[in-house]
Structures are given as structure tokens and as C-alpha cells.
Symmetry: C2
Subunit: 370 residues, 2 copies
């Protein structure tokens, strides 16, 4: 298990996942939960998936200072050089570009691949094949992404429209990206799936670090310069602190899709490698119920309960962080999330509305529970 | 407020109400809860309803030893002579007949009326009128009951078939009971309601104590003798304890319907006074949701919560004994009962199935929660 030459993986571990409240919350975000019943947190599963690709010790995690201990507990293998702590969240461009800039200082020819900490991937062989092609495309100077072959006309994901083959040796399925498109309506999503050229945007980016940073410098020169300035002192602890204190508050919050991927696609520098594996961003409890692979009581999935779950003519999922008895009678596709300070009861059909509950909790002033 | 001459009311306060689990349970039975949002427990509301009929200090509560403190907290007016503590539950005949026997020793001509501690009655004036007629019928030597005029073909109650007028002065609507019938099927219930002679059996019994005890002695002579033996020493503390220790384990468990009411009806000694008031035995959470008269969040009723309830497109009822946030999203007619050691999630349509959950909890060995 030596990994792909020059390849280093980056895991931006941020994002609360507010549609997964009250399970996922500021002090216990989505990536720190086992949402599939696999026995591993999403972060640990992501790390384990990347080690065969990048090789041992060649994965960097970018996370908030508040999550340092939890991340280190999940991945004891991480040394100090492999964890980038953010003073506060600055969106995905800062997370990924800062890691890339730090890695490039250490290894000028490094190819970086960024993979979210909180997605689920089922067929790891197929995932590795796709990343392998993406790395070859990156080596050829492209910024590569992996687009998931849709299995249904999902409206919860953005799509990538693939064009002609990029003609890269070693990356036979890499195609030039024609455009990125936002989450579509149901009707448009059906057209996309029928069309066959559209893939789900899984937020994976693979590129030479210098290519990525150059693309950023073209689009967001000030942000790129600030990131370079931070990276220049990152490995010198005495200088890092003052630089972070000075620069961090200035860093622009912008998604890497806007700062890098879409401009790169517009100028023909972006390729997509189709991924034929099962992938999910586990965006809400409907996804959790669907992906759950662990204990069941009849048709009711059970995640994390240390108590007793009693189901009578019920289906759906119970997620329990208590030792209480949880009994569900005669409700189909129910979602029950039982935490020490907050309870959520809904159905998988209503899973997207959970965000509105979070907004209501915020308005109610119970911010401790968020 | 002097009450009806010679009348003394009895409140048998027993019965866990297992369809109301996990709210109602062995150590906090149904009668100790405010199930309507009125601010009063069912027991207190029952007591307050009876005081104008029997007069102050003329109500006796029969309950389990374990509930003594809770009952006294609810009704500080009760003196020691007005509370009968059961060593263990022996069904309604023992509860009511023992109280009647004790009261007859103190007051030979007493007319007793027994009313469950955990029913809800809305129109108290109409209730008092019905009890007034029943007392007149009792004075004439009948055992009287009050039958509720059905408002729907309910299948959860037993029915009383009324016959000809009893012709009792002062009780113009009292009719001879033709028969008591068990909980009917939906089809039979519709026939009963269409027929017009059928009334709901609300378990109210009004009779001269001596008539009641004589009827019991005819049907269950051994039990009647044991009860008389207990009553004979009840007001002598030194003799009461040994008598209870010796006799209580021998007392037959039998419902008063079988031991007194049905045999009395068969021999023409039972009358029924129709009651045109709203009555409910609050048998399950569907009834609780229907009767709830307190706080709401949109169409979601809230009972007892000290926390925050958040509802989004939800209807039904949340009963909370915690300070947790309870959020319900997109479920209609939901029932959420949140207690420290057990959570129930169901719908009003499934309220009758809660008993099966209790059975499942018992099988699971979590008997502390029952």
C-alpha cells in the first residue's frame, strides 16, 4: 500500500449538517458521526478510503480548532503536520487552497485531491479507479473532478455536464467539463438523467497544487496572496500564530466551486471522470434511513441506541443517544432522533424541512442545542 | 354547598391506564395526571366535581398504599378517615364495597355513589342533575347507574340497555336496566346508537350502602363476609392491621359489574339515569388529544412541557415531562410522549396499540419504566 506517486489527499472536515439536527450540531458535526451503522464515523471512513490512494501519512485534515481533539481521536495516525486548524470557518476555498499551498511548499510537484469528510461511498475499488484517472488528468495539467453517474433524478445535488473526451493518456474516461449546474427542479433533473451527459457534483477536486493555486490567483488574487502568505510561514510555529491572527479575519468566504471550478470549466481547464460507484452526501435523515446498514427492529432501522427500541407496525429510523426506551407505533418512514437536550420527530418525506426547525430553535434562543 | 342528604361519594383511585404509557405508569397512574390541560389532575377534578353533591368532607378515596402521599398532596382536605389504603389492588368490588361497608358502620342509612378517579366530565350541572335523580332512585331501593347518551358509535365502551321507566318520584328519567352489554363491534355500536335505548356505561354506581352490600352478599357471600369483617374493625387502628394482613390476600378480584351490577340488573333491581353531559374515560392518547383544552403550537397540542416545542406542519399532541426541545415536523395526528426514561411516538389512530408496547416493554425486562 504505497499510494499514487506525488498524490496527497486533503479532507476538509467542516460543515455542521444542519438538516441532520439534533444529531449533528456545532460541537458534534456530521463528519464525527457514524451515520450508516458501519461502526466508523464518516471522517474515519473517508480517511480509510484515501490511505490506499495517497499512501500512509499522506492525508491532511483541515478542521476547526474546536474539533481538534475529536479529529485526533478518530485518526490517531495524524501528526501535527497533517492537521490544519482553522481559526474559524472560511468556506471551502480557504480550506482546500490553504492545504494545497502548505503541501506545495513541502513538495513542489504534489498533486492534491480534496474529498469531503462526510460523504458515503460504497464501491471503493471503483472509487479508486476514478481517482486514479483523475490524478492522471491532473498530471496533464487539468483540474479534475469526479462526477457520479446518477441513479435517479435527484434534486438535492448539483450536476456536471460532461463534454468531449479530454484525450489524456491513462485517463480514458476523463471528459472536458462543459458546465456546472445548480440543483435542478425535478423536471430538469429528469431531463439531465435522460440526456446521459450529466453527472452529480460530488465536490471532489484533484489537481496539481500549483495548477489549483494558479487558477485561484487568476480569479481571486487577493485571497490567493493571503493564502500563500499563510502557507509560507505555516511550518514555522513562531511565525504562524501572528500571521493567522492578522490574515485569518481577512480571508474571503467563498466556495471552491465559484472560486476555482466554474472559472476553470469556462476556460476548458476542467475535466470530469465519471464515477460508477454508490455515493451520497448524506444530506438529510432520508439519506441516513436509506443508507443505514446496521441494526433493525422489523422495518425500523436503529442507529446508535444503547437503550431499548420497540417497534410495532413502524418503519423508518430511530437514532438514539440515550438509554431510554424508544417506542414507535404505527408510523411509516418515521425519523426519531433522541438526544439528551433535543428530540426530533418527523418522516423521511419531511427530512429537508429539518433546517427550518433549526432556524426556529435559533429564534427561540436555545442556541446551546444547535 | 351542603350536598344531598345522606349522600357520600366514593372515588376508587386505581388502575394504571396502560394505554397511556409512558405517561401513566405504576408509580404515576392516570388519575394523578392532568390530561386535559385544565391545570388539575383527574383525581382533583373528580373530587371537586363531587363536593357540591356530597358536601364538604363527605368523599372517600380508595387507593393503593403507594399512592397515599400523592393522593394527599392532591386533596389536602382528606382526613385519615376519608382515605382507604389498599394493601394491593383487588379490583373494583373490593374498593367500592369496602368503602360502602365502612361508611355504613358510621352512618347506617348512607347512600353511596362511586365515581372513577380518572374520567372527564364537561357539563357539571347536568352531571349533578343526573346524580340527583340516581340518589332518589337509590333512596327508593334501587342500585342506580348513570348511562351517558352516546354521541358516536364508540367501540371502546360497554353499553347499558335501558327499559321502562322505574317510576321513582324525583327521578323522572330513571329507567329499569334491561341489560349490560360488553364493548361492541363497530356495526353493533351503530345499531345501538340508532336504536336509542343504549347508553354508555360510565362505571358510576349509586345505591344505599346496605342495598349494595346485600346484593354483593347474594352473589359473592364469602367476599361480602370478608369485607364486612374488615369494615367492622376499620376504625380501630389496632385491630385493622392484623385483619388486613389476614384477610386481604384472600379477597377475590372481581369487577363490580359482575359481582353486583349485572346480577342486580337481571333481577330488575338496577336503574339507569341518562346523562346528557360530555363524558370520557380518557382511555388512550387519542382521547387525550381530543379532550386537550390547553396550550397549542399551531395545530399541535402541548401538555405539560416545560421545554420548547417546535412544530412545523404538524398536528396531534406532545406530552413532555422534560425540559428538552421537542420538534415535530410534517406528521399529522402525532402523539409524542417524552418522559425521562421512555419515549413513545405514535398517532392518534394507533393509540389503542400502546398496550401492546407495554407488553413488549414488560417482555424486554425494562419493568422499571412500567
Amino acid at each position: 500500500m504505497t499510494g499514487i506517486d506525488d498524490f496527497f489527499s486533503i479532507i476538509p472536515a467542516g460543515g455542521v449538517g444542519s438538516r441532520l439536527w439534533p444529531l449533528s450540531r456545532a460541537d458534534a458535526p456530521k463528519f464525527l458521526h457514524d451515520l450508516t451503522g458501519s461502526g466508523k464515523t464518516l471522517l474515519r471512513a473517508t480517511y480509510d478510503r484515501l490511505v490506499p490512494l495517497a499512501g500512509p501519512g499522506r492525508t491532511m485534515v483541515v478542521t476547526g480548532r474546536a474539533h481538534r481533539a475529536a479529529v485526533e481521536a478518530q485518526i490517531p495516525e495524524l501528526d501535527d503536520a497533517s492537521i490544519v486548524l482553522e481559526a474559524d470557518p472560511r468556506d471551502s476555498t480557504v480550506a482546500i487552497a490553504l492545504a494545497a499551498a502548505i503541501l506545495r511548499r513541502r513538495e513542489p510537484d504534489v498533486i492534491v485531491g480534496s474529498f469531503a469528510a462526510d460523504h458515503v461511498i460504497d464501491d471503493e475499488r471503483s472509487f479508486r479507479r476514478a481517482v486514479g484517472e483523475a490524478v492522471e488528468a491532473a498530471r496533464a495539467g487539468y483540474i479534475a473532478t469526479i462526477g457520479i453517474t446518477p441513479t435517479e433524478p435527484a434534486i438535492g445535488f448539483g450536476y456536471i455536464r460532461a463534454g468531449d473526451s479530454a484525450g489524456v493518456a491513462g485517463a480514458p474516461s476523463a471528459a472536458i467539463v462543459r458546465e456546472f449546474v445548480e440543483k435542478p427542479s425535478a423536471q430538469v433533473a429528469r431531463q439531465y438523467v435522460a440526456d446521459g451527459d450529466y453527472l452529480w457534483n460530488a465536490g471532489m477536486f484533484i489537481a496539481r497544487a500549483d495548477v489549483l493555486l494558479e487558477a485561484l490567483a487568476t480569479e481571486e488574487p487577493e485571497l490567493a496572496a493571503q493564502i500563500e502568505e499563510l502557507a509560507a510561514v505555516w511550518d514555522e510555529p513562531a511565525r504562524r500564530g501572528p500571521a493567522v491572527d492578522r490574515l485569518w479575519p481577512l480571508l474571503k468566504k467563498i466556495a471552491i466551486d465559484y472560486a476555482v471550478a466554474e472559472p476553470a470549466a469556462a476556460s476548458g481547464r476542467m475535466v470530469v471522470v465519471p464515477g460508477d460507484f454508490d455515493w451520497d452526501d448524506v444530506g438529510d435523515f432520508s439519506a441516513v434511513a436509506k443508507l443505514h446498514n446496521g441494526a433493525h427492529r422489523g422495518r425500523l432501522a436503529i442507529l446508535g441506541s444503547q437503550g431499548t427500541v420497540i417497534a410495532d407496525s413502524a418503519s423508518g429510523i430511530v437514532i438514539s443517544q440515550s438509554k431510554r426506551i424508544v417506542s414507535v407505533v404505527g408510523i411509516q418512514n418515521v425519523v426519531v432522533v433522541d438526544t439528551p437536550d433535543a428530540l426530533l420527530v418527523t418522516t423521511t418525506d419531511n427530512a429537508q424541512r429539518v433546517k427550518q426547525v433549526v432556524d426556529a430553535v435559533r429564534r427561540s434562543g436555545n442556541t446551546d442545542a444547535l
